[in-house]
Amino acid sequence: MPSGTLLGQALISGVLAGGMYGLLALGLSLSWGLLRLVNLSHFALAFLAAYLTYELGTTYHVAPWWAAAMVVPVMLMIGLAQHWLFDRFKVNELASLLITFSFAVILEVAIQLYWTADYRRFETHYSTMSIKVGAFYIPVLELALCMVAGVLAWGTWLWLRKTYVGKALRAAAEDADIAAAYGVDHKKLAYLLSGMGAAYAAIAGTFIALIATLAPAQIWAWLGVVFAVVIIGRLGNPLGALLAGMLIGASESIAMAIFAPAWAPVVSFSVLIAILLWDPEWL
């Protein structure tokens, strides 16, 4: 049986790693749950943002937070442009999957053309910094990521629950035609939400640049687990996405610590299947 230190440490790193799943799941969950658009290019946008952060950081020595401030608006515009396409061609759920898949492939190729397929690493002095608490180490960047993800998830949750726009969005997600007949301008709201999703991808991307090593094919590395997270966290539920991310991250990490690391990839889908079978009320 592994020691308490090992388990505790594994739990910490798992929850923190899950923060990234949650952050990536956030935008995906919003557009899937509220717009019925399954945006596979979310991952590609996040990586584009990561590469831009990397480029700004390594070539122009721009600090990551300034880079984020520049990249977020750019991604927001891309998100809006992408939504214009969805709107123009009246894209449905299935078609959105195919279209955003192709969009992601194109972005992957574009990234590869400019940055090559080679690995890119944005070395910063805080990339391996951690805080020691008792016997445990808490990596600073991942902690920051989780805090940002927490603020975003919580803020978005409140926004959906408390504001007129948020409630109108949820109403339109349930029945767009009826909502329209009550004066909800679903189209405008959809643009807003798509823009937001892309901005969230940009924020995730900034952290990806700092935490992970970049390679174009990595775009697809998160796909499976983040999809599981989105579903477990309930479509359109930002807090659920974050909590599900942390749950999956923690489960993977504990599985790696107690059993074999090779089990990790099965964990997310086992949890997903278990929860689907259990079918709790909140799902």
């Binding site: 007129y164 035609d177 909502a179 329209a180 007949a181 009550y182 004066g183 909800v184």
Partner: protein
């Protein structure tokens, strides 16, 4: 033009099918109109066409003198068309209160006043819309339309399929809306006797056409057209 609503030469339907043909009527401020007719004659189609969710083939719909027949539903809602659909279509995933606030627009009908009209909704404010009983859903559907502060309320068979005691409660609320609040309304009903007393005017549809139009009081006094077109005496 003093009329709040003026409908002329209206034909509408679904896809290629024409359901309504050459419908014309007018409604003044503060007036209530009963729309009567058997199942499938096009009553719902008429209301839906006013809301803008069917296909309009010809004719005009003027609200307060402004042509709205070409506008999208959300624009018409903004101009004051409030709708209580036959299927109720409340937002099941939103709470009762959110159903109201999600579509609310400023005006005399605040959420508190809606709750005043339907105290049951206030009790269930935090429950999800999907958990309500049929009668409560109908109340919520009416409350939701009121929360948009409409100039014209469209009610599609508001008492259909409800227990008698609930029907009583709803009719009392409707009476209050029409008599005291002087809200302009079009009410679709199969049971004429329930609404003729609270409306000023009535029209009867038969296969998509208006076959009778008169004061409600006149129909109550002489129910012959009711017998002829609805096959009922005013029970």
């Amino acid at each position: 033009m003093a009329d709040l609503l003026s409908v002329e030469n209206l034909s509408a339907g679904y896809g290629r099918a024409v359901v309504l043909s050459d419908v014309a009527f007018a409604l003044g401020e503060g007036e209530a109109l009963a729309v009567l007719g058997r199942n499938g004659v096009g009553k719902t189609t008429l209301l839906d066409t006013l809301v803008g969710v069917t296909r309009r083939f010809a004719g005009s719909i003027a609200l307060g003198g402004r042509e709205v027949g070409t506008l999208a539903p959300e624009m018409r809602a903004g101009l004051g068309v409030g709708w209580v659909p036959q299927e109720r279509n409340i937002f099941r995933s939103l709470s009762v209160e959110e159903n109201l606030t999600a579509v609310a627009r400023p005006g005399p009908w605040t959420i508190e006043r809606v709750f005043g009209l339907f105290p049951r909704l206030k009790e269930r404010a935090r429950q999800s819309g999907g958990s309500l009983s049929g009668g409560e859903q109908q109340m919520l559907a009416i409350g939701r339309a009121l929360a948009t502060n409409p100039r014209l309320l469209l009610l599609d068979e508001p008492t259909e399929g409800l227990a008698p005691i609930i029907v009583q409660e709803l009719l009392a609320a409707l009476t209050r809306l029409l008599r005291e609040e002087k809200l302009a309304a079009i009410i679709v009903e199969q049971h004429a006797q329930k609404i003729l007393p609270i409306t000023q005017r009535a029209l009867i549809l038969e296969r998509g056409r208006i076959v009778h139009q008169s004061e409600s009081a006149a129909l109550l006094a002489d129910p012959a057209p009711l017998e002829r077109f609805l096959g009922v005496t005013g029970r």
